[in-house]
Amino acid sequence: MEYAINLAILFLIYAILGLSLNLVVGYTGLLSTAHAAFYGIGAYAAAILVTSHNVNFFMALLAGVLASALAALLIGVVLSRFAGDYYALVSLGFNVIAYSVLLNWQGLTRGPLGIPGISRPYLLGLAFSSNGPFLVLALIFLAMAYIISRFIAGSSFGRVLKAIREDEGAIQVFGYDTVRYKLAVFVISAAMAAAAGALFASYITFIDPSSFTVMESVFILAIIILGGLSNLKGSVLGAAIMVLLPEALRFAGFPASMAAELRQAVYGLSLILLMLFRPQGILGEYRL
């Protein structure tokens, strides 16, 4: 049971990450490979505030969201000028920089040692220290992320995003400042990823930079491409499959020491197969 709850919580965290990345990649058509950076900023901000400043988890989460949104604003000012392949490449670069900051700013992040002893959340006498209540908390966060994403997708703002995806030049002719729209959706997406990061930090109770590499960004990308771009249910479905698939392999008899590499091989291979045979994913409404 404990094992199933653990997987369910990881699934919920990745579903939030998938939903938020889908806003940028699926709805706006910008291939961002920097999502793990914002996930990491949220996780680190929350972890540092909870451990060394004894801040309540929910306040720390909010601070993480703000920090990540601010970082996304600064990065987005540069990034939003690009489109297509160059967007993918420059965002990859930002993830590399974010990772090296987490690794090298040792005074703040303790570098490769990571931050241990992050406490579980509590609110108004309600403690989420065991995994059951934490699952409920994560579920509430996923529901919030889903509602926010659905609202954005259905709003006039969301329609402009889709128009940018289909033909950025044409929508500019109608007087829309596309750079501003791209920036806005990027910041919203980063803020949501940061909330997932704070949840992750307090769930695992230990974080180090290795959870926030470019490869993690590729993993989140694989989730939404598998589930289907520009479809919110697809992101949730993709997260479920991508979290459960490596576990299935473990039961098939592969040794646990190779778990991380095996997971990488699986999602790398699934990206190749998807591009070859079904680039729109399972439920996708848009293909790259």
Partner: protein, 285 residues
């Protein structure tokens, strides 16, 4: 004075290494028009092939190096035949090919980690120090500089003076027209993948001799090569090498004043500056 000459020597070594990555990447980009991120893992695979042949099979270093270069080439060729060729025939966008190459990078890198573990592997290489203009350089690093120089020259000559080179130029100018005048574009592209990946293999092997091998080394090499290409000018042999040298000098002179771990950050700042101010690179095609 001594610091200055050492910095210059280090910059040239780094620049030559980046050039080896940039040349192949640029060559492949010029005919396929997408960012082939799997290029990085071709370099790593070349290095590991040499490691396997020398330490497990006890082969001679020179034979192993030649075999490593060829196997990196065949890996790249295989990527093209199995994945990219099919995507090209379906006329998919460059983003789809980029994502597929990201998948190849991730999965082959994971396979390397499963086969050879995540531990850092080193070659039993001699570390004789030579003195050039007051700066120290090892034998391996001399090989890096020499390979960077000769392969740039060789590639430029091939592209300019052979039938194959003319075909490559034709495909990179306009693949559709090239096909109409009777060039077998798929065959040319396959050979370009072989050549480009073999050159990346040289970079991976030399990195193995110089500092050692890790399964994720391809990513770092790749990023430097890509940045060098963009700041030098995409789709241009000289551009890739010029960008590599600029990058090597900027990084090594940068860490004179800034701590060394910010090398990667320095190179990305240069990339962004170029993208914003001079997106066509140093040498325009």
């Amino acid at each position: 004075m001594e610091i200055l000459s050492q910095l210059i020597v280090n910059s040239v070594i780094a620049g030559a290494m980046y050039a080896l990555m940039a040349l192949g990447f640029n060559l492949i980009y010029s005919v396929t028009r997408f960012f082939n991120l799997a290029h990085g893992v071709a370099a790593a695979a070349g290095g590991y092939a040499v490691f396997y042949l020398t330490s497990s099979l006890g082969q001679n270093v020179y034979i192993a190096t030649a075999a490593g270069i060829v196997s990196a080439g065949f890996l790249g060729y295989g990527f093209d035949r199995l994945v990219f060729l099919r995507l090209r025939r379906r006329k998919t966008s460059s983003m789809v090919q980029l994502v597929a190459s990201l998948g190849l990078l991730t999965s082959v890198q994971a396979v390397l980690a499963i086969l050879f573990t995540n531990e850092f592997q080193t070659f039993p290489a001699g570390h004789t120090l030579y003195n050039v203009l007051g700066g120290a350089i090892t034998g391996t690093q001399t090989a890096v500089v020499a390979s960077g120089f000769f392969i740039t020259l060789l590639l430029a000559l091939i592209l300019r003076h052979t039938m194959f080179g003319k075909a490559v130029n034709a495909v990179s100018d306009d693949a559709e027209v090239a096909r109409i005048v009777g060039i077998d574009t798929d065959r040319v592209t396959g050979r370009v993948f072989f050549m480009g990946s073999a050159i990346a293999g040289i970079a991976g092997i030399l990195t193995g001799f110089d500092t050692g091998l890790g399964p994720t080394m391809g990513m770092g090499l790749l990023l430097k090569g890509v940045i060098a290409c963009i700041i030098g000018g995409m789709g241009n042999v000289w551009g890739g090498t010029a960008g590599s040298m600029l990058l090597g000098f900027a990084e090594n002179f940068g860490i004179w004043k800034i701590p060394g771990q910010w090398k990667d950050a320095i190179s990305f700042v240069i990339l962004i500056a170029f993208l914003l101010l001079r997106p066509e690179g140093m040498i325009k095609k």
